[in-house]
Amino acid sequence: MNVFQGKTWVFGDDIDTDAIIPARYLTTQDPKILAAHCMEDAEPDFPKKVQPGDIIVGGKNFGCGSSREHAPIAISGAGVSLVIAESFARIFFRNAINIGLPIVECPQAVSGCENGHTLQVDLAAGVVKNLTLNESYEAVAFPDFMQEIIQAGGLIGFVKRQTGGEK
């Protein structure tokens, strides 16, 4: 389950949360409704054409802007398996980990990657492979603490353990 493979959707630098999910759709938490509008202002075809398992590739500062957790929820609801970027804005980074959307920082994998390439990502080993280009790269590793949150299935699972709530 720690290895993901999918076709890429490549976006540029500073993809903001209004591009990921415009505020006009923030009157719901439903992942399906949010997914139907995911990325539509940046790439109108995205919600219609995205396939389960696809991978979003971003440049620097992916997810900048608002704190809306609806952004990673929309991405995950669209069936995207993973987001890989040169760097992430901090609230998006936190939110993605908290809801269990896998994200990877790997500048080398981003440069040279084009729409429709096939990437294979091994989260545990921290290795990203571009199968189209036949290249392999090392990803930036998560600190242990964040790996614990991911292992607990997100922050709520982690807090349940802390507070002794039901599993």
Partner: protein, 424 residues
């Protein structure tokens, strides 16, 4: 080695004598904030944790401000989720329509976020409270849910960039211009994951309202928090309002900074950030002719009394250009009332402006002033991303209240100096 103000506040709340940038800590929080967009999701996650009660009903603030007064049935349902949660858990700081305000104007005004506090909010502009010498940062709904249950949050202690502003400000230049200029200098990820500490003689002379504006937009440079060293201006602001204890922290002279950036403010003109990033800042002299359809004065960035005073000083005795819609939104009911008592609201209405009850409204393209395809706005808000205020092919130019008010009079982006001269 000494510590920065941010490190000191976090150390205190983590029960530590000392800590360094890069460490992961768990810290107690003094206030947890959510609004009608983020709190319903946080409430759903809170219920999943399985605890019966919130950690402290007096340390949670719930503010319906984004799509309120509710713009449609769906937003009304969201606000209802938050209202019912507030009643069920006896949340002390729940603010109903008519008694509310834009969260980041409201909480400091009421003295429930204070110097030395650690505040997290499920809203990215929570960093506003750094203007009081608090550590305040935006988080998502799940972080908010966890903090409502435990009263704690985890942080990676940020590295700090020290900004030193020297020299004397030009006329009509204020907090908004300084922060837009700064973001223009370092870029929208120039302080990513870091703390921005604002100091220098030009800062010491800034009003509390102007400081809120600067700290508010630290997130637009990617920062975790923006912070000011509290001083007499801070003391004067909080003394009458504080609903609890507060503590002034200062950075040690030998504190470690990732970088020190010195800025001479004497050459800085009023700033305008062009679409579609706040880093596209230019001096008013380099703007060229940009016609606008709408002007918005308000938001958690510039909806405070000083902002309205500046706008009114320009609009006094003038009228809004025929092809422009000017929308003025006081940040809180108290600010609205103060503006009314000072005669500012009369000036706005006589000039031909629409004056609204407090709401985030148009800033995030929610309601109360959405742009059509191809339309252009100048706004005192904080973001000019694609589609931020409406149609994906509309445009937002960011400025302070002086440029916004002047632009409303002429119909194109204008230096306040030009409008005031004409009228004189």
């Amino acid at each position: 080695m000494g510590m920065t103000i941010t490190e000191k506040i976090l150390a205190k709340h983590a029960g530590r004598q000392k800590l360094e940038a890069g460490e992961l800590i768990n810290a107690k929080v003094d206030m947890v904030l959510g609004n009608d967009v983020t709190a319903p999701l946080a409430i759903q996650e809170f219920e999943r944790i399985g605890v019966k009660t919130v950690f402290d009903p007096a340390k949670i603030a719930l503010v319906p401000d984004h799509f309120t007064p509710n713009k449609d049935i769906q937003s009304a349902e969201q606000a209802k989720i938050m209202r019912e949660f507030a009643r069920r858990h006896d949340i002390v700081h729940y603010f109903e329509v008519g008694r509310m305000g834009i969260e980041h104007c409201l909480l400091p005004e009421l003295g429930i976020v204070l110097p030395g506090h650690v505040v997290i909010g499920a809203d990215s502009h929570t960093c506003t409270y750094g203007a009081l010498g608090a550590f305040a940062t935006g988080v998502g709904s799940t972080d908010m849910a966890a903090a409502m249950a435990t009263g704690e949050a985890w942080f990676r202690v940020p590295e700090t960039i020290l900004f030193v502003y020297r020299g004397e400000l030009k006329p009509w230049v204020s907090g908004k211009d300084l922060i837009l200029y700064t973001i223009g200098l370092i870029g929208v990820d120039g302080a990513r994951y870091m703390s921005m500490e604002f100091t220098g003689e030009a800062i010491e002379g800034l009003s509390q309202d102007a400081r809120f504006t600067m700290a508010n937009m630290a997130i637009e440079a990617g920062a975790k928090n923006g912070i000011f060293i509290p001083d007499a201006v801070t003391e004067n602001y909080v003394r009458q309002r504080a609903k609890g204890n507060y503590e002034f922290y200062v950075s040690d002279p030998d504190a470690h900074y990732k970088k020190v950036i010195e800025i001479d403010v004497s050459g800085i003109e009023p700033q305008v950030a062009f679409p579609h990033l706040p880093e596209n800042a230019r001096g008013i002299g380099d703007v060229g002719e940009v016609a606008v359809d709408q002007v918005v004065i308000g938001s958690c960035t510039n909806g405070r009394i000083e902002d309205l005073e500046i706008a009114a000083s320009i609009l006094q005795g003038k009228t809004v250009a025929a092809n422009v819609r000017l929308i003025v939104i006081p940040g809180t009911q108290a600010i609205y009332l103060e503006a009314l008592n000072q005669g500012l609201i009369e000036i706005f209405i006589n000039a031909g402006a629409a004056v609204s009850t407090p709401t985030c409204g148009p800033c995030l393209g929610g309601h109360m002033g959405i742009l059509a395809k191809g339309e252009r706005a100048v706004a005192t808000t904080n973001r000019n991303f694609v589609g931020r205020m409406g149609h994906p092919e509309s445009e937002v130019y960011l400025s302070g209240p002086a440029v916004a008010a002047a632009s409303a009079v002429t119909g194109y982006i204008t230096s306040p100096q030009d409008v005031v001269k004409e009228g004189a």
